[in-house]
Symmetry: C2
């Protein structure tokens, strides 16, 4: 695992996880490690804590997350969507951070409503740990090793 | 290859490619086939043709593309960004179609400016055919086999 993480370009970057289920967070954290994600995951359990983290990072010049993994039902989908809108309304460069929605819901109105509010992609949460690990391997391969992300800490 | 494409959920879906270089389009088309992309790629060479395609699909009830691959310099980056804004201003459900930017440029202001205008992700074009194939394999794995896309043809 060390060899893999050492070669990744985004080693040490922050990733913000907004997730109200502690169980899901533990699963995600362990799956990220097993998948060789080179990022430092920061967990917040509710929308207000997410906004606080982003606002404090902006105010204090702390490194912003390169990506946000967002649960939808926090605990209602309206809470998740409100947070999405609040994040998009924060000062630059926060609105350009890609937001990946991760939800147990595969309801088509949840999916469409989330794309309509500016998410980058929507992923349905897997049901077992091996699938979580596989999901993070694909996220790593796509977002860490393939995509060009905005340089948040020099362009504002 | 047939076995792979037969099992993909989005087999037969349309993918819109906006690309003013015919050479790049030929490379992309061949790489998509080699990577087992199960989509039908529709090529347009300029912003106006892209808008015409989307408007005609809306007006005539033709299947909308599940994703848009967009070149940035068409021929200037302002043309690419204007097209991005024009697509986002079209009637529902067009604005929720994920837009993947594909450009030879790795300039950080091109990357940031594109995220600021609502792209889903930014990819730097590879320099050889094998890398193009590998890129489309990763795009297939992420967007076709992992992400939940909005159902464009029933939610409007």
């Amino acid at each position: 695992m060390t060899q893999t993480t050492d070669t990744l370009p985004l080693k040490g970057a922050n990733l913000l996880v907004v997730e109200d289920s502690h169980d899901d967070w533990i699963l995600m954290k362990q799956a990220m490690i097993r998948a060789g994600m080179a990022v430092k995951a920061i967990w917040v359990a509710n929308p207000q804590a997410a906004l606080n983290h982003l606002n404090e990072s902006l105010a204090m010049g702390i490194k912003l997350p390169i990506m946000i993994l967002l649960d939808l039902y926090l605990p209602s989908r309206e809470s998740g969507w409100q947070l999405l809108q609040d994040i998009k309304a924060l000062p630059e460069p926060v609105p350009m951070i890609p937001i990946i929605l991760l939800s147990h819901s595969s309801d088509s109105s949840d999916i469409s409503g989330s794309y309509n509010r500016g998410i980058s992609s929507y992923l349905v949460k897997p049901s077992d740990f091996d699938s979580w690990t596989q999901l993070f391997q694909i996220l790593r391969e796509y977002w860490q090793e393939t995509v060009a992300l905005p340089n948040l800490n020099t362009n504002w």
